[in-house]
């Protein structure tokens, strides 16, 4: 339990650093936030008024304090492009992105874990060489380019999957309680909508995940290789355990922990990488929201996205680490 406490403490510390970084971005790096907030056509007196209103004439430390307390109260500022509170924008945009990342993560895990384990077991064979080459190629593909090519070829030329959007035209009015289309459609028993949503997710999820899967296979392989070299594998063989049993019961159980920690981090990184994918596939989501905000120079909205993605990242890491801790009680049990 002490570990969990420490882990949570670390997350809170990370949150402070995150707040500091986003504060730095919105208040220091971007120049004078008052000029930005006052809008492009404001005169000097308007800017001064805004400055006073935003508390920008006060010392930085006080500003940081105001900034933090605003955010902790759920106030991320107002987008001067959508004229909406940024917080409500993000709450609307987050579910489709999380849905996309979730599907991409499922593909990632389903490919990385078995492939990493097998290439570690058969290291040095032709199978290993081929996988490594494919992985290396995958790690060199720009996500956004892959997305365009997939969209043009698989959806455009072959017409195998829908080109863009989140749902087909016939389901455009579908809504649900959670905002996660896959979940909502299942809850309402609308399997046609579920299939439609999934079809719309395949290409973007694949484009999003490829780079991460390439890294995932490598990480898993390295972790498993280290385990295969240990003497407990020899002892398991000496017991007469089959290779399959050794791989699953012994090696995987030990090697998965460090690998899964990385996958936990990848969740947040993928959410960040949606900026490269969502816009191409015309999907709603915070990636597209961020890109739009960037083109409109809507700094507060961009920084808010940075903050939210960072927050999701912190939470997913925390969840993964605590889950792993609870699942593998060794090591910490005696400490």
């Amino acid at each position: 339990m002490r570990y969990v406490g420490q882990r949570i403490l670390f997350s809170i510390l990370s949150l402070c650093v995150l707040l500091f970084i986003t504060f730095l971005l919105s208040h220091v790096v971007s120049g004078d936030p008052a000029i930005v907030a006052a809008g492009p056509n404001a005169g000097a007196d308007k800017i001064a008024a805004v400055r006073q209103e935003m508390g920008l004439d006060r010392p930085l430390l006080v500003q940081f304090w105001i900034y933090c307390s605003n955010i902790l109260h759920g106030d991320l500022g107002t987008s001067w492009f959508t004229r909406q509170p940024i917080a409500s924008d993000i709450i609307r945009e987050l579910p489709p992105s999380l849905e996309l990342v979730f599907v991409a993560m499922v593909i990632n895990l389903a490919v990385s874990l078995p492939l990493g384990l097998l290439t570690a077991r058969y290291a040095g064979t032709t199978f290993d060489d081929v996988v490594r080459l494919v992985v290396m190629a995958g790690a060199g593909l720009p996500i956004f380019w892959l997305a365009i090519i997939l969209q043009q070829v698989v959806a455009g030329q072959w017409r195998l999957l829908p080109t863009a959007g989140r749902l087909g035209f016939e389901n455009r009015d579908f809504t649900g309680a959670t905002g996660f289309t896959l979940l909502d459609s299942l809850m309402q028993g609308r399997f046609d909508v579920f299939a439609d949503a999934l079809a719309h997710l395949v290409l973007p999820a694949f484009a999003l995940t490829l780079l991460f899967t390439a890294v995932g296979v490598r990480i898993t392989r390295t972790a498993m290789m280290g385990e295969f070299r240990k003497d407990y594998v020899v002892l398991a063989r000496a017991k007469g355990a089959s290779e399959g049993r050794i791989m699953v019961r012994h090696v995987f159980a030990n090697g998965a922990t460090p690998a899964l920690t990385v996958f936990g981090m990848q969740f947040g990184w993928m959410l960040g990488a949606t900026v490269l994918v969502e816009e191409i596939f015309g999907r709603p989501g915070i990636g597209r929201y961020a890109v739009k905000a960037v083109t409109q120079s809507d700094i507060h909205a961009v920084v808010a996205v940075v903050f939210v993605v960072g927050l999701v990242f912190l939470i997913s890491n925390l969840v993964v680490d605590i889950a792993l801790f609870l699942l593998t009680p060794r090591k910490h049990a005696g400490a």
């Binding site: 240990k230 003497d231 407990y232 020899v234 002892l235 398991a236 063989r237 000496a238 017991k239 007469g240 355990a241 019961r249 012994h250 159980a253 030990n254 922990t257 593998t328 009680p329 060794r330 090591k331 049990a333 005696g334």
Partner: protein
């Protein structure tokens, strides 16, 4: 296993003839022409410096070495011939129930994420299936843990390896080996990572329990003095060659192979003074040195030209005492 006739006492339990071991990459022969026999209930030692091939030889014979294979010769265990083709798989099948193995490093030889009890019951299950049901298997495992001297075995059953010292862990590894109810126990440097006091306790425990369970033991070590005090016969490996099989009582007493003699002269023991210590000049020759003749020729005080040109004599009849010295030193 039940179909095999019980071995008679004069029949060797493990007999290897002219066995050579080669690496999978490059097919380099690392160990060549080793012949020896271990009888049931015998305590047998294998000594060698690092690179002598002692670990490679035994691990390969047990089918545990991924990067090496038995390249030639014949292996017979408990009256059953093991073919050289597909040797590793065949040998591996024997391990679960006939041969127990204790590897060197107790800190990595137990699965860190599996409870101790589970690791022992797994060994019982793999060797015998579940003939007695989960509860009886658990009791058997706890019984074994008590037998190898683990205090509060029922408590330790549910704990993880990292809560125990090196000596305790090595006892658990030994319990796993005993759980298979084997006929032969192979212990590869089981106490090298341990302190002197623990070392002696673990060695004595292994020998004592093995006697009780009618096990033959092969104890591998770099420590000639330890083997001299613990086992009956010692096989001496150097540069991938079997140079000597010597009764431990002969060491320091009668004429033995020049290498064994030189090795014994190197080690400080209780009785020796500084004047008794004589080092061997030069560096040890590693296994797979690829020279003709005797591997020890380059450092041997008795060396003659023939040592470097004549093929090494073989222990073709797997005699219980053997010296590979062409000068006849230590040959009975």
């Amino acid at each position: 296993m039940a179909s095999l006739a019980p071995p008679t006492t004069d029949r060797p339990l493990l007999e290897i003839r002219d066995v050579s071991v080669a690496l999978r990459t490059g097919n380099r022969t690392m160990v060549a022409g080793v012949s020896l026999a271990v009888r049931p209930r015998e305590v047998f030692g294998i000594v060698g410096e690092s690179g002598s091939g002692k670990t490679l030889l035994t691990r390969t014979l047990l089918g545990l070495q991924d990067d090496a294979y038995v390249a030639g010769g014949s292996v017979r265990f408990n009256g059953q011939d093991l073919p050289v083709n597909g040797y590793a798989n065949k040998a591996r099948k024997l391990l679960g129930h006939s041969i127990g193995f204790v590897p060197q490093d107790p800190f990595s030889s137990l699965n860190p994420s599996m409870r101790i009890g589970k690791q022992i019951t797994e060994a019982i299950y793999l060797a015998k299936g579940w003939p007695m049901g989960a509860e009886r298997t658990r009791e058997a495992a706890i019984g074994l843990m008590a037998e190898v001297g683990i205090p509060e075995p029922a408590l330790a059953f549910n704990q993880f390896p990292d809560q125990f010292s090196g000596g305790m862990r090595q006892r658990m590894v030994f319990a796993i080996a005993l759980a298979q109810d084997p006929k032969l126990l192979v212990a590869d440097e089981p106490t090298t990572a341990l302190d002197a006091i623990t070392q002696r306790r673990v060695i004595e425990l292994i020998l004592d329990r093995s006697r009780k369970h009618d096990l033959a033991v092969i104890l591998i070590s770099h420590n000639l003095e330890l083997l001299r005090q613990s086992v009956g016969r010692i096989a001496v490996l150097y540069g991938g060659q079997l140079l000597n099989i010597v009764p431990s009582g002969d060491i320091g007493q009668s004429t033995i192979h020049p290498y064994t003699e030189a090795l014994f002269d190197c080690i400080p023991t209780r009785e020796k003074t500084l004047a008794d210590i004589r080092s061997i000049p030069g560096e040890p020759v590693g296994a797979g040195f690829g020279l003709k003749g005797c591997a020890f020729a380059s450092r041997c005080p008795y060396v003659v030209t023939a040592c470097r040109t004549t093929d090494l004599p073989q222990n073709a009849g797997t005699a219980s005492i053997f010296s590979a010295c062409i000068l006849g030193r230590g040959v009975h």
